[in-house]
């Protein structure tokens, strides 16, 4: 079996955070008595990712996703536990390790602000020791796929958010990293730009066999890109598996919606499933999976039945429900 691209065992990360109350008095008190609180950003995390996997790290704000990503990329020293990425200990930041990875952050940049992006591309060519012909080939390929021809010669400060992120991706991928960490890569972008970035990342993964680890608050990013998700909450792993498996564990019911001229009484509908919405000609039910064929046939038989749709619960709702459950009652724990 191939060595995992990422191997994490008992990872923990503690930060010391200075705190003070509001107002002048608290400010003066803080001058002589500094109050420090220890925050466990990551408590106990263990997982392994195979080469070529696309994995989404999910969790609410402050769950420890970005801290985990920063540790994997070698930016932070772990407080405890073992981490191996591409066969290296990340925080030692060995040359070969840094050549094997890239981290793209939606709200941070590596491009020089007042220079055209192509200047940073050229700098990376030399720093990463990329062969001139390979550099030209990759750059031409990325430029064509992302439509960068007219923007990479403009100073970065004049680019839109989406244009800048495309250039950030190119700068991050020119050395063809085997592991790509993406932290909120589509933050603040419109839908078409999100789609373009997703398609590009997927192609990079499929063509180069690179491992992709993604955090995003846009569930569409995760569901479109990641066959496997790791759900983190309070610095600990709450789920490791596919989106379908998570959904079926947390929200096993299927959501069935339909439009029709009229519906049976509520008491009769309750026998089919749980009524989520009933308004005018629209009805939404949550139905047990094994009863879906039977309920669907009944709904099809309603007068003027149309727009029948059966789907799993949206990932946002599944996660909300997962996070609302106490940790020890967690059925989704791997």
């Amino acid at each position: 079996m191939a060595e995992p691209a990422v191997q994490v065992e008992g990872l923990g990360k503690r930060f010391e955070v200075a705190e003070r109350g509001a107002g002048l008095r608290a400010a003066l008190r803080a001058l002589v008595h500094r109050r420090v609180r220890v925050v466990e950003a990551v408590r106990e995390l263990s997982f392994a990712l195979a080469p070529g996997e696309r994995v989404g790290l999910l969790g609410p704000n402050g769950a420890g996703k970005t801290t985990t990503l920063k540790i994997l990329a070698g930016l932070l020293y772990p407080s405890r536990g073992q981490v191996r990425v591409a066969g290296f200990t990340p925080h030692l930041r060995k040359y070969e390790f840094l050549r094997s990875i890239s981290l793209v952050m939606g709200h941070k940049r590596q491009l020089s602000w007042d220079l055209p992006a192509v200047d940073t591309f050229e700098l990376n060519r030399v720093i990463y020791d990329i062969d001139a012909s390979a550099y030209r080939r990759r750059l031409d390929d990325f430029v064509e796929r992302l439509g960068l021809a007219s923007i990479m010669f403009k100073p970065v400060r004049q680019l839109s958010l989406g244009e800048r992120m495309k250039c950030e991706l190119v700068a991050a991928l020119l050395h063809e990293p085997s592991i790509l960490f993406l932290d909120e890569p589509t933050l603040g972008m419109d839908v078409s730009m999100q789609l373009a970035i997703r398609a590009f990342v997927r192609e990079y993964n499929e063509e180069r066999g690179a491992t992709i680890v993604l955090t995003s608050h846009y569930m569409q990013d995760v569901s479109a890109l990641c066959p496997r998700i790791l759900v983190i909450n309070d610095g600990a792993l709450r789920f490791d598996g596919t989106i379908e498996a998570l959904t079926r564990t947390i929200r096993p019911l299927r959501r069935v919606s339909v439009r029709a001229e009229s519906f049976p009484e509520d008491a009769a509908l309750a026998d089919w499933g749980r009524v989520i919405e009933r308004a005018g000609d629209r009805l939404v039910l949550d139905v047990e999976p094994e009863r879906v064929p039977e309920v669907v046939s009944r709904l099809v038989g309603l007068p003027d039945s149309r727009e029948l749709l059966v789907r799993e619960a949206p990932l946002e709702e599944v996660l909300r429900e997962l996070f609302a459950r106490p940790d020890d009652a967690d059925e989704a724990r791997p």
Partner: protein
């Protein structure tokens, strides 16, 4: 990374730094204008020495000294303390840490890359002052001219290392550049920036020559204008070397300790 690749990478960083300095050329010129303090000292001391020398400085000596101080300050300055403080506080440092070249080499090269432009922008100002003051009369020997670049490198390394140490303190404290103001206060008095160190009170003149402030400015200026005996020249280089080694080691240590507590805030 092979030595050849390392050199190519340093050259690429230099080119990037030069391109950035060119993009900020107006800001660079304004910065030069704000560091014309030696030219103000020149006007003051040349006025005082109009009728009689002050110590061993005639009016022309003051002109040569302070124009030299202005130019050497331009050629040995850096701004890594502010860059590091900002990058650590905002998490911008992460982008440099992710590249397979040491972030301090990035700062070293981009700071060095601005020097030619800085010299080109400062030179007309220095020439204008010299013309207004009636010309420059210095007679450095060929040996002095030969070793001057070494003294400039030493002075630059001292300034850069001190800024690295103070900038790296931003890993622990919010505003480390405030400490740099403290350093600069001592520098103005003890380096020969406001007054040649040979005009300080008798006891101080000898003592300050062993401090890093004088090694970073007064020593190369005195070398440039030919005021050092061979013994003083050797002592000056020895003192400068000691400070370069001590401060570079301290900078490396502070950086390594700091990187362990880096929080990569917001990144």
């Amino acid at each position: 990374m092979s030595a050849r690749h390392q050199l190519r990478a340093l050259a690429a960083l230099w080119r990037l730094g030069f391109a950035e300095a060119s993009a900020y050329r107006v800001a660079l010129f304004v910065w030069i204008l704000t560091s014309t303090f030696p030219l103000i000292s020149l006007a003051l001391w040349a006025g005082i020495a109009r009728d009689a020398p002050v110590g061993d400085f005639t009016q022309r000596d003051f002109v040569a000294y302070f124009v030299g101080a202005f130019l050497i300050r331009q050629l040995t300055s850096s701004w890594v303390v502010w860059d590091l403080e900002r990058q650590i506080a905002t998490g911008e440092l992460s982008a440099l840490l992710l590249r397979p070249i040491h972030p301090l080499l990035h700062h070293l090269m981009t700071n060095l890359a601005a020097l030619p432009l800085r010299a080109a922008l400062a030179a007309p100002l220095a020439i204008a002052v010299l013309v207004a003051a009636g010309g420059l009369q210095i007679a450095p020997s060929s040996l002095e001219l030969l070793v001057l670049p070494l003294a400039l490198v030493g002075a630059w390394l001292i300034n850069f290392s001190v800024q690295l140490i103070i900038g790296s303190l931003a890993f622990w404290i919010t505003s480390s550049s405030a400490l740099y103001e403290l350093w600069m206060t001592c520098y103005v008095v003890l380096s020969g920036y406001a007054v040649p160190t040979s005009l300080l009170p008798a006891g101080m003149t000898t003592a300050v020559r062993y401090l890093p402030f004088h090694a970073a400015l007064g020593f190369p200026v005195e070398l440039l204008i030919g005021r050092l005996s061979p013994a003083e020249l050797l002592t000056g280089f020895a003192v400068q070397c000691c400070w370069v080694v001590a401060l570079a080691l301290a900078a490396g240590w502070t950086w390594r300790r700091g990187a362990r507590v880096y929080g990569a805030v917001g990144a």
